[in-house]
Structure formats: C-alpha cells, structure tokens
C-alpha cells in the first residue's frame, strides 16, 4: 500500500507526496467548487483486476436480543454471497474485485458498478426521499455536500441483501461519506442502522484507488452462471 508523507518547509504550504516522492495530484474540482469525484476506482494496488474484500467493521455490529437470525452462517459447501450475481447493497457493493465508476454532474452523482452491472443515481439538488419508497435492492439515495465530503443517505432497501455478514430488514438506513483527498484516492465510510436488527449504528471504512489506466467500467452481464455446487465431492 502506498504511504504518504507530508513535507513541511518553513514559510511554505505543506505538499503531500507519495512514498516515491512525487507530489500527489490535487483533488479535481467541479465548476461549483466541489470535489469532482468522477473516475474509475477499485481496491487494487496496481495492476491486475482489482482486489475484493470487506472493509473491517470499525464499530460493531451488535445484534439486538432475538436478532441472531440475521447473522449469516454459511455451510461448508456453499458457493458464497456473490455466486447468484444479484445486486449488492451499501458497502457490500464495493467489496468485490471489480471496478466502479463515479460520474458527477451539477445536480446528481451516479455510481456505476462493474459487478454485477448495477448503478445508483444520487440526486444532490436537495430533494427529499419519497414518503414511502418502494423497496429496492440498492435503495433510494439522496446526497448533499458537507464541505468537501459527499454525504449520501439511503433508505428504501428490500431485505434480500447482506452487509458484512449480516442480513437486515427493510428499515435499513445507510449513510455513506465519500471524500477525494487527492486525485488518486477515494475515501469511503458507511454507517448502517436498522432498529430491528442492530443495537446501534455501525460503520465500515474503505479506501479506493483511482484506476488511471481505465476510462470506464466494463459491461457485465451474468449470462453464464451455473450451479457450482455440482462440483463438490459426491457423498
């Protein structure tokens, strides 16, 4: 992982540099002065197709009494959370070794997920959520800026997804924070609350890298998914 150091010289503005000593490129800005988050990112550390993995939960989750059933327990011969190609919600959507693309415009931000070919459109013009949103896989998102941080509030989830090994109800509420401290880095934080499942909100944090070699995410259509369980040892 690239480490950063700050060079302080008396009488000058500190300059962020990478470990290699080259100055970090500044955060690009949109016409309205806000950070322009647009770009293709993943959690790769150079080359390859990107690496997946969940972000560590920094605080919890702690299940309410009687909510143990929301903890996902997989049998040994399970093909895993991603094997059905269904959409992934909140931070889980960023836990796969695929790229995602942010497209920012003056009144909205779109996130295009390379896997499994889903997208979110996040209005940033101050409008509210629908009064009683229909449940969806990705939820209903609205965004606003707090300084240089894009804060995205999402409700209206169905109860078919899991996040960091926990299922949830339709009462799930996620607040995500996106920051681009320099051109090549996207910092992400997601706080989950569900009064039916969790004692208190819990947070995961991730850092993504800009894929300077990619201008867009690839098409992904899960057209040839098979029953992988048939390849387990016959009993």
């Amino acid at each position: 992982m690239t480490k950063s150091v700050t060079v302080n010289v008396a009488g000058t503005t500190p300059i962020e540099t990478s470990e290699a000593g080259t100055p970090k490129k500044e955060t690009p800005r949109a016409a309205n002065g806000k950070p322009d988050l647009s770009g293709v990112y993943d959690v790769s550390f150079g080359g390859g197709g990107g690496r997946g993995g969940r972000g560590p939960a920094t605080d919890g989750p702690e299940l309410k009494p009687g909510a143990e059933k929301y903890r996902v327990v997989r049998p040994a011969e399970d093909t895993g959370i991603y094997s059905d190609c269904m959409p992934l919600a909140g931070p889980q959507a960023f836990s796969v070794p695929y790229q995602f693309q942010i497209v920012e415009s003056a009144h909205s931000v779109a996130i295009l997920y390379g896997y499994p070919g889903t997208f979110r459109t996040i209005p940033t013009d101050g409008g509210p959520h629908p009064a009683d949103p229909d449940p969806t896989w990705m939820g209903d998102s609205i965004g606003h800026w707090e300084g240089d941080t894009l804060v995205v509030d999402t409700v209206g989830f169905n109860d078919k997804t899991e996040i960091n090994g926990f299922r949830h109800t339709e009462a799930l509420h996620i607040i995500e924070r996106f920051r681009r401290p320099d051109a090549n880095t996207l910092q992400y934080e997601a706080t989950m609350e569900d009064p039916n499942v969790f004692v208190k909100p819990w947070t995961v944090a991730r850092t993504f890298s800009l894929r300077t070699d990619l201008a867009k995410v690839d098409e992904f259509v899960c057209e040839h998914n098979i029953d992988y369980t048939k390849f387990f040892e016959k009993k």
Binding site: P97, Y115, F220, F231
Partner: protein, 123 residues
C-alpha cells in the same frame, strides 16, 4: 470415471496454485491444492461473464475423447492478464492447469493456460 480422468492429468505436485481475489463464487468445489494439467483441442471458447469457459476435447489413455469444462476468471480479470475474445480459437491445442472438480466431473478452475503459440498466460 474420476480415476481414469485423473490418470491422464499430469499432477504438478502439491504446491497450491495462487488463487487470485476470486469474488464471484467459492473455489471450495475445486481441488486447488493439488493442481493438474490437461491438454487437448479447443472445441469452443465462451467469452462470457461471470466466468469465461473453454471446452477442451481431451483424449484419455484408452483413446476415448472427453470434453473438459475449463472455467476461468471473469472477463475483467482476463483482460488485465492480456486475454481477448481471440486469445484461443477452436482447433487450438492448449494446456490448462488448475484445480479439478472434487466431484470427479471433467471440469476445472484453470489458473494458467499454455496457448497454442507456446505462451503461458494467467487465467
């Protein structure tokens, strides 16, 4: 059937293959710790997600032709390794190294492919 098919595969020893960040499904149904190599003629190459497939006609010791289903990574990974939809074509003789299905079916999750031109490429 399992034994006969395994007999034609060349065991590479006990060194496990490096499995890349494999997100789409668990690899537990494949024997990744004891990789094998199969050599045959490409019948079809499916450039599709969530995994590309090569269908390889392998001739066993008795002369019987068996079609192996060779699973590879998803297209974004393959592209990063240098693959395109034209990297292999029907009629090519290639070798695939990977973990065979624990079920004994002629199926494999391939990690390395030796192409018809002699190049070896991650898969």
């Amino acid at each position: 059937m399992k034994l006969r098919l395994m007999a034609l595969a060349i065991a590479l020893g006990t060194m496990p293959l490096a499995t890349p960040g494999f997100a789409h499904h668990s690899t537990a149904m494949y024997n990744m710790t004891n990789p094998v190599t199969v050599t045959g003629v490409v019948k079809r190459f499916e450039w599709v997600n969530p995994h590309a497939y090569i269908y390889l006609e392998v001739t066993d010791e008795s002369g019987k032709k068996v079609e192996w289903q060779i699973e590879m990574m998803s297209l974004n990974h393959l592209k990063s390794y240098g693959w395109t939809h034209a990297t292999v074509k029907p009629g090519d003789t290639i070798s695939c190294t990977g973990g065979a299905a624990k079920s004994g079916d002629p199926a494999m999750l391939s990690s390395l492919v030796k192409l018809a031109d002699g190049r070896t490429i991650k898969s």
